[in-house]
Amino acid sequence: MPTVTYTQPNGTQQTLQVEEGTTLMRAAVSNGIDGIIGECGGQAMCATCHVYVRPEYAEALPEISDDEDEMLDCATAERMDSSRLGCQIKIDAELTGIVVDIPAGQL
């Protein structure tokens, strides 16, 4: 099973085993990872599952849609090149081991 590592702003890390096809947001919410809210249920409507993806995994990520792009522009934490919405990233074999950083605030 692929793994995903979530890094809190204070540096602590939690690694989850995630079934293929599960999104970064769903895995985090289901397992009580602090700082990922997913208030809209994965519709790219609320931008409360904003994460920074470490650059070594950037190439394996799905392309960013216009909707995700516009929502990220207005996310609470600063948008960076590595910014993505966790609800738009489904974990597959290629993404196994992915490490993401959680911003300090989502609301």
Binding site: R26, V29, G32, G38, G41, C46, D67, C74
Partner: protein, 412 residues
Amino acid sequence: MSVVVIGGGQAGLQVADTLRTEGYGGEIHVIAEESGLPYQRPPLSKDYLAPGQEPAPLPLRGASFFVDKNVTLHEGAQALAIDRAERKVKLTEGSLDYDHLVFATGARNRMLNCPGASLSGIHGLKTLTDAEALHTALPTARNIVIIGAGFIGLEFAAAALAHGCDVTVLEFAPRPMGRALTPVMGEWFAAAHRSQGVDLRLGEGIDRFEPGADGRVGAAVSTTGASYPADLVLVGIGVQPNDTLASDAGLETSNGIVVDETLRTADPAVLAIGDCASFPSAHAQVRLRLESVQNATDQARHAARTVLGANHPYTELPWFWSTQGPYRLQMAGLARPDDDTLVLGDQAAAKFSVLCFRDGVLTAVESVNAPADHMAARKLLAAGTGITRDQAETEGFTLKAVASTPLVPVVA
């Protein structure tokens, strides 16, 4: 010390979360009528019904939340009565004492009572059980009739089309989503759904259902006398607040449990939030009841802080969304049907916003496939930036550009 929250939905769970996160040290009990981990409802009418999915409900919080935050979840339990003098909630089994009680009881679907309304094959959509039944029925359904062109009805219409079904929607009102949207946006959505293949019948209500040869629903007969073949019917005609428990406890109800601007009822130990609460809206400047995730979670955070000793009025900007096939609708603020409107963007390309003005000042924005407009509108409206119609009509005006400059609230 103990807080008892009645309701295991978005509002109920958020109260528990905020209470604990912000330092509440007493017991927290959440009473949830449904069994299993509380889940998110919005995906049930969208992703959950998409073809080819083996859907799983999205939990509101993981199982570890209840352990880590020391929140007691009473699943499959029901609150039967409140004794406010003794500060006690009677449950199906046993009772709980409270120092604060929070009603987060939500709403239930309005039911049809026309002839044939109890035939098999006629569904509602509110709970996971409802969604599971529809998910099972959709792949073999052919002719679908939907009663009500509200959010649920039209989200379901889009899902049914994706399954290759013929879809008819009966709506008594002259426009879809008429309670929530401006006429210009409602009319755009009517045309958009028709272009997708939905047979949208406006000004036409349901008169009765007739059984087919197998005894299940076979046809829907409308108020015009027209008969539409139906092997699956979805009824989406709105909801009613779950406020009986509160009124039985002597609390005032009027289309919801009546609360003040701090979200307390007349009994300061009792609060009500989310779909079940009638509150004085700072934005609409009238008393109203809202059915949305934003309203549920923001009121929950506010109520938790009220329990913790704050005494501020609730003033969060209402916002809302709906996904209907290729159309992503987002609303910021509360539009009124008689608002003055201005369309920005490209309606033909399904990427635009309707700006609503009252007395010449921006009060709400409805957007289709334009999240940048929506997010900017939320920022501007929350800050009380008084965008005027003249300003919005200026060449090159965008909400995003205005929102990215320092915001100056207008002093009335």
